[in-house]
Every structure is written in structure tokens, then in C-alpha cells.
Symmetry: C2
Subunit: 158 residues, 2 copies
Amino acid sequence: MLRISKLTDYATVLLAHLAEDGAGQRTAVELAEWSKIGLPTVSKVLKELQRAGLVVSTRGARGGYSLARSADTISAADILDAVEGPIGLTECSIHPGQCELESNCRVGRTWQRVNLAIHQALADLRLTDLANAEAGAIPELIIRIGPRLTIRSRTESA
Amino acid sequence: MLRISKLTDYATVLLAHLAEDGAGQRTAVELAEWSKIGLPTVSKVLKELQRAGLVVSTRGARGGYSLARSADTISAADILDAVEGPIGLTECSIHPGQCELESNCRVGRTWQRVNLAIHQALADLRLTDLANAEAGAIPELIIRIGPRLTIRSRTESA
DNA sequence: TGGATTCAGGACCATTTTAGTACTAATAAG
DNA sequence: CTTATTAGTACTAAAATGGTCCTGAATCCA
């Protein structure tokens, strides 16, 4: 099934920590120690998040990273886009017209719509939700593609 | 953003063709010529689909491949699972407990639920839909994660 | 001013994954 | 028996991924 990269996963872990009450500013070293992720890797991820504008950094002694805006204005889609770039589900999601198969291909359009739908759903999932998962902040999660069925999953499985 | 592999894309193209009216049985050679995908690759994909039970094959002269069951009982999730295996969005979606970060990690559970939701949504997207995308067979596509927002996208964008 | 701290920007490498190929064996038809 | 066609598997090449390292730039503080 679909996968997010480890680096994206790290990014969400780190951002969720920065989003905790009064976390304020943290250095890469602190975040690495807390998360048990290697320092160089933590640095790399944070640098990418900085470029994407999700965190702000201050250099020098007493520097560090903090969220660039409030946790409920940062979405999972923002994080994905920041770390993995806007990679589509299929080649033709990003570069339409470059696929030789397109003449025969009836499935491309559908994949593009699936891609869009997932993206939009993730845009509705906020860092606040990620950070407070166990507090039951995500009471339901619905993904529906096509008119037939709706699946609901309540917080505790099922 | 999330990505499906090229092989999975090929699989949907090929299956969609097999699902067309009266397509019946086709050889790997025919499918390769029609789709413009290389023969060895087509063969590889079809073999995987056969192992997964999505197509049936007959060997020997006059052999070939055809759908194992009707196109509306084959879902996009079936195809993904067949070609890519049940890879989760994150490591801990598949092997819970093997991640050193889990103690601190508040985000894992959420990703697992996103993973599940996407999977279930794809289970509702049938080969019939993929094959007939332009006939408007997918009037709406809704993915919702979290209680806040619902996004609808009608067939012709937006 | 100079040293210490901390981030920025790359280059770089190792490993894994993905895509694609090739070869041999098995099965079926005629 | 010959031809057509899939099954299985091993293999290779290319790309993506994860992770490291080094050098430079900003900032603080003594």
C-alpha cells in the first residue's frame, strides 16, 4: 500500500513535539535526543521544514527551531509536500501528456482524482490532530471514493 | 505526495483492458502490443496478478489471461495489494512495536488510521470505475479525515 | 574582537527499492 | 514432436532513500 517516507514520519514526530504546550523553541540537538533520531537526520529534516516555511529558525547561540505558525494551521498535507515534494500518485498526476500510454489509458484520470482526494483529506488533518491523537481528537475518519459506500472508523479501531 | 509504483499503474491499465466488453482472454503479447508496455514487464505484472488471484491464466497454445472475476468485484485496493504487497504508510503500520520511537511517538496511531482509511476507500473503488472513468462512473469522490471538513470533487474537476 | 553555539547549504555515500530483462521449466494444442 | 504460451526465478541497472559530513554564515556573549 501507499507509503510515506521515514523522513516524513520523522517530520511529523518532530513537529508534533514542537506543537506541545509551551514547547517553544528547541535546538536540533534537543530534538534529536528527545526523539532518539540521529542528529544529522534531525537537522536535515528541520532544514527542509524551514525552507518550506513550517518552522522558523534562529541561528547562533541560543538559537533553535519553533513552529512558524499555530499547530492548527499546519496540515499533514503541508508536511508531506514539504518533505517529499508534490509527487503524484502516478507520473501523469504531475506531468500530464508525457505518458505514451495516455491514448489507451482510461485509468489515469481516476488515479489523478484519487490523488487529489487524498491530498485534500490530508489537508484537513492538522498538526493539532497528529499531536493529540490519544486525546481522541480525531473522532472519525472517513474516506470515500465513489458514491457507493462510506466507511467510518471510530477512534478505537473498528 | 503518496505514490503508487509504475507496475501498479500498469496493472490497472491492463486489468481495465481485460475488463472491457468482450475482451475475454488475451495473451501477454497482445496486451503488450496494445498497451505499448514492454513484453517482459507485462508478463511480470500478469504473473503477479495471477498469483494474487485477480486473473486466471491458461498455458500452452491458445492460452492467455482473463479476469478471475467480474470487474465490479475487483477493487483498486486488491490491485495495490497484489502488486505492491500490504505496505503500510509507516513502518509501524505493519510491524507495530518495532519502532524505537514509539514511546514518544504520538503520531503513529494517526498515520495508521489514515492508512486504514485510504485502504478502505480504495477498496470501494472498483475496476469498473477505473475502466469507465470518462463515462462519468465516478460522480463523486470524498475523502474525509477528521470531523471538520468534507471535500467533494465532481467529475470534471472542482 | 574572538570564541562558542547553532543553523544553512551542499556534496556525498551506502543501502534499498524499483523497473526491467533473461533464461529455463512446465503445460497445452494440434 | 513442435509450437505457443505461461510459471518461476535469478539477475542487472537505475533510481530513490536514508543517513553522514563538511564548510560557511549568523548570533550571542564575554
